[in-house]
Amino acid sequence: MPESFTIAVFSENKAGLLQRVTSSFTRRKINIESLTVSESEVPGIHRYTIVVDSLDEDGVIKVCAALEKQVDVQKAFYYRDTDIVYREIALYKVRSDSMTEGSPALAIVDKHHARILSVEPEFTVIQKTGRREQTAALFDELEPYGILEFVRSGRVAISRPMKELKTYLEELAVASTH
């Protein structure tokens, strides 16, 4: 039964690389559940965090091998959910008149440890950071009070193993001149 895997791809940020990365998935008709690109702790190295939930481990290994063979890709790792600490961020826009002091909607926000990000005369923006099911649970509870707009980021994840990216890159640099 396919489970959720998080793939971390490290590369220099070059034009066209995103297409090389995504085409490794699209040509195998693998749907990307979420994709986040950001800097990493190593200057000049970007990190793609990709979540897939339609593959078994063998399929994930093959995709990682296909990603890693790309000339500009340094490393590609895959993780089970237990191998990482991960979060998503969700924003909810609701009517301000439903968020008055003592209102049930406000109580829901408190219960979920969500933050009020911005209060305007007409609307209020709520922020919730957490796992998918947590941000979804808040959505479900707020929905009866009217959600005007909703957005959720892709997953960001930190791996549990202690080996640093820098070490991998040093090993790679040595191997590249063999």
Binding site: S11, G16, A65, K69, V71, V73, L172, S176, H178
Partner: protein
């Protein structure tokens, strides 16, 4: 100027102020390019203007269609072992390259394709002859880069040539906007010798090699399957030494043809859908399988669930993504085939496997009686493709480069052609690109001018790139074209006969007069339909100084056997319909 070693610290390489277009040509010269293939157009004109100035250094072959340029570059690369170069303009020029790029990708051919592009300020504006060539080529190329400033040219070209050839070779696409071709900058060139993100030659794992040696030394029925990786890593001598020391029967994939002598006593023949009988059925008899520089293509494995399940599998492969992709390995040796075999050799015991080898010979006997005899010594009135190739062998001695197109003639040529030297088989193995043969043969002849180059082609395939006869005329390339004409798209017709109840949908060809076409291009030619004329006609083709087209009319509805039906197990190979 350019050096292959890094300049000493603080020592600045000398520079010259030149245009981007001139820099392109200077980069090519620095990379040793003396032949390239291309077609001019608006967005690449500055580079052509420089090629005019440097025509003593680089022979630019004017093709008739950009697809031809890529296949010529591929043929050149495969025959010479060097990087092939193709040049085209933007838009349709660039899109016409794509089939060749995809072909080079799947067959690991080192090639650099250069395309012109609209000026940077027009990118994305749907300008005349603008196309997103990077977007189109990324999924089918090893690497690519769009240059929008002249100063990027030296570094990108150095990297392109390095990437094309390093590790598992492949095609690279460089797109250059017109403003970058006109722009001036201070030029200097330094070859690329490594890229920090790319490992071309993985460091071998000694423990894995020992494990492999142990398996091989204790095997009762070891079996070597080798592919083009042997040719690409120039490991022919290492393979021969390994095979001879261990006495292991060895079979080649279609891309591995010519890496060993056809008649080597331990060369048991060809794998694959239309390969030999013994090599296929014995996949399911061996106890240790040693795959070297090959990728277990589906045309080799058939049904993976019934492929070598009884065997321990050792896979020597430079591309990590190929290991465990199709066939699960017991011992994965990730590395260069030459280095791996050289390291492995001293660990292996001398051995002989006479009774095991005899099993292959017994299969050969069956295949000869059921298939080969009728194909190569026919008693029917109709000529066969097999007898034509067999007679050709007698004349060439197996020393010619055989370039094929795609289809029945390709399978027959690969089955029956003799090979005495490496880099002698040039075919579109992975992509199966009809139209590959003629331009690839032209490129091969320019890549190995001292060798005879024979293009074996069908009546369907030749018409896909027949315009390249114009290159033979204009450039005087001495290729021999052996046109095996069955007036059908024969391989598709064979499948229609076997799997679609003989419903010959769109496979019968009404052909032009190929003799008149050859004459129109001033190419000497002949057409035969009688067996008695075959030897004389082949001899005349080979003895004629210059290009030649020999058209041999063969049986219209002959089939290629043996055959592993698509999706069937290799052991279920059919010797007859």
């Amino acid at each position: 100027m350019s050096t292959s070693t890094k300049p000493k610290a603080k020592e600045k390489p000398t520079t010259e102020r030149i245009t981007g277009a001139e820099a392109v040509v200077r980069c090519l010269i620095a990379e040793g390019v003396d032949v390239m293939f291309g077609y001019p157009g608006g967005a690449i004109m500055p580079v052509y203007d420089e090629l005019y100035k440097y025509q003593k250094d680089i022979h630019h072959v004017l093709v008739r269609h950009e697809q031809g340029a890529t296949h010529m570059a591929q043929g050149f690369a495969r025959a010479s072992g060097r990087v092939g170069v193709a040049l085209a303009t933007s838009g349709p020029g660039a899109t016409n390259l794509i089939t060749g790029v995809a072909d080079a990708m799947i067959d690991s051919t080192p090639m650099v394709c250069i395309t012109g592009q609209v000026p940077k300020h027009l990118l994305g504006s749907d300008a005349f002859q603008e196309t997103d060539v990077m977007g189109i080529s990324i999924p089918v190329s090893k690497w690519g880069f769009q240059i929008t400033d002249a100063s990027e040219i030296p570094e990108v070209f150095a990297k392109a040539f390095y990437v094309a050839k390093a590790g598992r070779p492949g095609p690279v696409v460089i797109d250059i906007t017109k403003n970058a071709q006109f722009g001036e900058f201070d030029f200097s060139y330094e070859k690329c010798t490594s890229i920090s993100t790319y490992v071309p030659r993985p460091i071998l794992d000694e423990a894995k090699l020992k494990e492999a040696a142990e398996l091989i030394n204790n095997a009762k029925k070891p079996y070597i399957l080798f592919g083009q990786g042997v040719i690409l890593s120039e490991a022919e001598a290492e393979l021969k030494a390994l095979v001879e020391k261990t006495g292991i029967p060895s079979a080649w994939t279609i891309m591995g043809l010519s890496a060993m002598d056809t008649d080597h006593p331990l060369n048991v023949g060809m794998l694959g859908m239309h390969g030999n009988y013994g090599p296929n059925v014995n996949i399911n008899e061996c106890d240790v399988m040693i795959a070297i520089g090959m990728r277990f293509d589906d045309r080799v494995t058939g049904n993976l669930e019934k492929f070598a399940k009884q065997a321990k599998v050792i896979h020597i492969e430079i591309d990590r993504a190929e290991i465990d992709k199709n066939v699960k390995t017991d011992v994965a040796i990730h590395g260069d085939a030459k280095e791996a075999m050289a390291t492995l050799l001293p660990m292996l015991n001398e051995n002989k496997h006479e009774s095991w080898l005899q099993e292959f010979k017994d299969c050969d006997k069956v295949e000869f009686e059921k298939v080969i005899d009728a194909e190569c010594n026919p008693t029917t009135d109709e000529m066969t493709m097999g007898e034509t190739i067999k007679e050709l062998n007698k004349i060439t001695g197996g020393n010619a480069i055989i370039v094929t197109d795609v289809g029945q003639h390709q399978m027959v040529a690969c089955r029956y052609a003799d090979f005495r030297q490496t880099k002698s088989n040039i075919t579109s193995g992975g992509l199966g690109t009809m139209g590959f043969g003629l331009p690839a043969a032209i490129g091969a002849k320019l890549g190995a001018p001292e060798r005879d180059v024979i293009c074996v082609v069908g009546d369907g395939g030749i018409q896909m790139t027949i315009e390249e006869l114009g290159v033979i005329l204009q450039t005087d390339v001495h290729v021999k074209i052996l046109l095996l004409n069955n007036e059908f798209l024969g391989m598709v017709r064979q499948w229609q006969q076997l799997f679609f109840d003989k419903r010959y949908a769109s496979t019968e060809m009404v052909n032009p007069n190929f003799q008149l076409i050859a004459e129109a291009y001033s190419i000497k030619c002949n057409k035969i339909d009688q067996r008695k004329d075959l030897v004389g006609a082949l001899t005349e083709m080979m003895e004629t100084d210059g290009a030649y087209l020999l058209e041999v009319m063969v049986g219209k509805e002959n089939n290629v056997f043996p055959m592993v039906p698509a999706g069937a197990a290799v052991a279920d190979i059919k010797l007859e319909p």
